[in-house]
């Protein structure tokens, strides 16, 4: 187990280096000039060139990357072109909001998705199953963005129950997390259902029933535990797409998280911020995958090999 963990941890820096180089090159290959975007359409070309030089963007790519990499290793992700504040500070200030949103969304997704999937599997082919499948398809297909606007219009403007924008109180969490949770709930529900169906067909379930165990005990303690492995895998892997979903959700709700920071920074080609947020997000995704693998290894001793 120890060497397993050790090898996984070693992989992280290599992944980060690779990703950082990729992002660094990709955003600079994008058309669009941060200097022109900052100065505005009425600025003369001379002013734009001067701004570019002030921002250090007229140096060669190798020099720029070398500076970025050597600073990054020391924990300095540079200064935002737009706000002139350290990227690390910008991210640190917003990280809790995105994490809070992601955690709430995930909790919702798990507490609704897992039981829903179980019901679908237990009452397979029944109306309950059809209902769960239908809801799962709708949830997976619905545009995050449209749902957010609909929810805002209904619950904030129409009913006035919830705040419209921002993160000023616990009530502000509700609409954004529900919006963000819809897709993961659908995915988790379907995954739970298929996994449960497979498990419920196993011999040991028949044995448990034959033994006279209460249905609740059979489903929760025996079936679910074995069905969990693919579910945990999905939950871990989905974290990346949750960050992606957070980008849209945060933009619509003016949620002060790193998703919105990323959108704004791409709009203005704020290279240091784009690089910083991507690195942080990648680290998060890698960590979540790693955590998921640990949980799986803990659940199933057979998997504790390489």
């Amino acid at each position: 187990m120890k060497s397993y963990i050790f090898r996984k941890i070693l992989a992280l820096p290599l992944i980060l280096i690779g990703v950082s180089m990729l992002v660094f090159l990709a955003i600079r290959a994008l058309p669009g000039d941060p200097a022109r975007l900052m100065a505005g359409p009425e600025a003369t070309q001379e002013a734009v060139d001067n701004m570019r030089s002030r921002l250090g963007l007229d140096r060669t790519l190798v020099v720029q990357y070398a500076e970025f990499a050597s600073n990054a290793v020391q924990g300095d992700l540079g200064l935002s072109i737009k706000s002139k504040l350290p990227v690390v500070d910008e991210i640190a200030e917003r990280m809790p909001y995105t994490l809070g949103l992601a955690v709430c969304a995930y909790l919702l997704a798990i507490t609704i998705g897992v039981p829903a999937g179980m019901i679908g599997a237990i009452y397979r082919h029944g109306w309950q199953d059809q209902a769960v499948m239908l809801l799962a398809i709708v949830g997976a297909s619905i545009a995050n963005f449209w749902l957010a606007l609909m929810a805002m219009n209904t619950f904030s403007v129409g009913l006035g129950w919830l705040p419209l924008l921002g993160a000023s109180s616990w009530k502000s969490f509700i609409l954004p997390s529900v919006t963000l949770a819809v897709l993961p709930t659908a995915v988790i529900a379907r995954m739970t259902r298929s996994s449960m169906i497979e498990v419920l067909a196993q011999d040991y379930i028949r044995t448990a029933r034959a033994k006279g165990l209460a249905p609740g005990s059979v489903y929760w303690s025996h079936a679910l535990r074995n069905a969990l492995i693919p579910i945990v895998t999905i939950v871990g892997l989905n974290f990346g797409s949750l960050i992606g979903g957070a980008v849209v959700t945060e933009s619509v709700f003016n949620w002060p998280g790193i998703g919105r920071l990323l959108v704004d920074s791409v709009r203005y080609r704020d290279y240091p911020v784009i690089q910083g947020v991507t690195l942080v997000a990648v680290t998060g995704v890698v960590m979540m995958n790693f955590l998921a693998e640990l949980v799986i290894a803990a659940l199933n001793p057979k998997i504790r090999l390489d």
Binding site: G32, M38, G40, R94, L164, L165, S168, S169, S221, D264
Partner: protein, 517 residues
């Protein structure tokens, strides 16, 4: 069995703890919202330094904080602000301004001639390269302090728009201390009725009353909070829930909806943003004036105004906006006449029409689609390329070779010179030296006669004569048709019905420093 329960339980507990823990700081984070006027715009401010940016919406955010030697009042007249009186010598090249006494910047630095000199010196310094310096450098020679209360401006050439410009952008006076410290880009320090309380980058700008303002007690709300969203529907919703007291600009689609809402007031006024299609005069067949005129005849401007702006615009008959001094409302160059368009195209050698492209940003994409349908009737096949903001910006400012390579026949955009005068509308768009990438003459239009007229008008101090020259200039632009001129957008903004005292400078700059709710 026990192990799975423990893991799940542990995770649940951890998750709940995280959620609760994270929400704690939020409840104490709330800003006191009493007596705060919230203004929501469509984009974030680009800088806290009015001299280092050129976007109108940023200028609106900075307006309560900074002042110039003169200011514009709600009746659009220019009045004394940081200067109390001024005069020019006989040549019109030397201007003397007497400065207001007892004024201090928000950081305590005294306002005097030295501060004014430093402000303009930073724009005249070519090494500094501030974004808004361009305009000033074309006509300003130097600024000197005669005594601590008097400054003198020496112009290179007569410039009728000089005093008007002093109320805008690069001429707003910033604290020389903050500028020297290099912090002015993120920490606004001016002399105005409001000072910067907090700038949370990416979130909001909060301003509070300046108790020591030279003008007495500021007339507006205690605090002004500036926010923004890129979503049109969110703007409308925010106004309805009260999350915003003022939204600017209001998308036309929502204007009709909110007009009937008794909780809101929709304000529409003559704007100055002229929308056009810039034709690449170096690319066949757009190098032929007949082809360009044909496109003008093939455009149903009234239809465009109805379809795209819901009627909140004025069809163009001139490169100038109706609010611009010198605008000639008698001009009527192009009716909507498909037959005339076809005839002209045939004359030019394209009886069956031709194919061309246009590049457009998301906000104007629909204009491209509407033109596509209109011009098809005359046989012109318009290929519309929608581009993201940054991508469009790069493509639009390419030089002739670049545009040839990418096949960019035209670009759809708009330009506004506010109320600063016709020179700032005509020179950047039609003057030969303004050809991109240097300036915004995206189609590389070059007409020596027009250049001459523009220069002549720019140095004519007598208003009547000047406007006559601009009349000539408008005729040349109409006739040579480097643009298909579309319409002048009205400035649309909305407030909650209890908000009074907000007003609009043509061009989209909403002034809220005197607004109360």
């Amino acid at each position: 069995m026990k192990r799975i329960h423990k893991t799940l339980r542990r995770r649940l507990v951890l998750g709940c703890a995280l959620a609760i823990g994270l929400s704690m700081p939020l409840t104490t984070h709330g800003i006191a919202l009493a007596a705060t006027l919230t203004v929501m715009q469509s984009e974030a401010p680009r800088s806290m330094d009015p001299g280092d940016q050129t976007a109108t919406y940023t200028a609106a955010v900075l307006d309560p904080i900074y002042e110039g030697l003169v200011r514009r009042d709600p009746d659009l007249a220019l009045r004394p602000a940081l200067a109390t009186e001024w005069s020019a010598d006989a040549s019109g090249l030397v201007w003397t301004f007497k400065l207001r006494q007892g004024v201090k910047f928000h950081d305590g630095t005294p306002f005097d001639a030295d501060a004014v000199v430093k402000n303009f010196a930073r724009h005249l310094d070519t090494k500094r390269g501030l974004a808004a310096s361009g305009r000033l450098r074309t006509f300003l020679d130097n600024v000197t302090a005669i005594d601590p209360a008097t400054v003198q401006f020496k112009l290179k050439t007569q410039y009728p728009a000089f005093v008007a410009l002093l109320s805008t952008g690069p001429c707003l006076i910033v604290s020389p201390t903050a500028d020297a410290a290099g912090t002015i880009g993120t920490k606004a320090v001016g002399t105005g009725p409001y000072k910067l309380a907090e700038y949370k980058s990416g979130e909001y700008v909060l301003q509070e009353k300046n108790a020591e303002w030279w003008g007495g007690a500021p007339k507006g709300e205690d605090k002004i909070k500036w926010t923004w969203t890129a979503e049109n529907s969110v703007m409308s919703m925010a106004l309805q829930t009260g999350d915003a007291d003022i939204v600017n600009p209001l998308p036309p689609a929502f204007a009709n909806q909110l007009k009937n809402n008794s909780d809101m007031t929709v304000h529409a006024s003559d704007g100055s943003a002229v929308f056009w299609v810039s034709l690449n005069t170096k690319m066949k067949p757009l190098d032929d004036v007949k082809v360009r005129q044909a496109l003008n005849y093939a455009t149903d401007r009234e239809g465009l105004v109805r379809a795209f702006m819901q009627g909140y615009a004025t069809p163009s008959n001139s490169p100038l906006a109706p609010v611009t001094p010198g605008y000639d409302r008698s001009l009527a160059p192009y009716d909507y006449d498909i037959d005339k368009a076809k005839a002209l195209l045939a004359e030019a050698g394209y009886p069956d029409g031709f194919t061309m492209t246009t590049i457009v940003q998301e906000q104007e994409a629909r204009i491209g689609e509407l033109l596509q349908a209109m011009w098809a009737k005359a046989g012109v096949k318009l290929e519309v390329r929608r581009m993201e903001g940054g991508v469009w910006s790069k493509a639009a400012f390419l030089d002739p070779a670049g545009k040839e390579k990418d096949g960019i026949g035209s670009s759809i955009a708009s330009w506004s010179s506010g109320v600063s005068g016709a020179d700032l509308q005509l020179r950047p768009l039609y003057y030969s030296k303004s050809a991109s990438p240097t300036g915004a003459n995206l189609g590389f239009f070059s007409d020596p006669k027009l250049d001459e007229l523009i220069d002549k008008a720019a140095s004519t101090l007598d208003e009547k004569t000047r406007n006559e020259v601009y009349g000539e200039a408008q005729k040349v632009v109409n006739e040579q048709a480097p643009h298909v001129l579309l319409f002048t957008k009205q400035d649309l903004y909305a407030t909650r019905v209890n908000v009074n005292g907000a007003w609009m400078i043509p061009g989209g700059l909403v002034v809220v420093k005197d607004a109360k709710k």
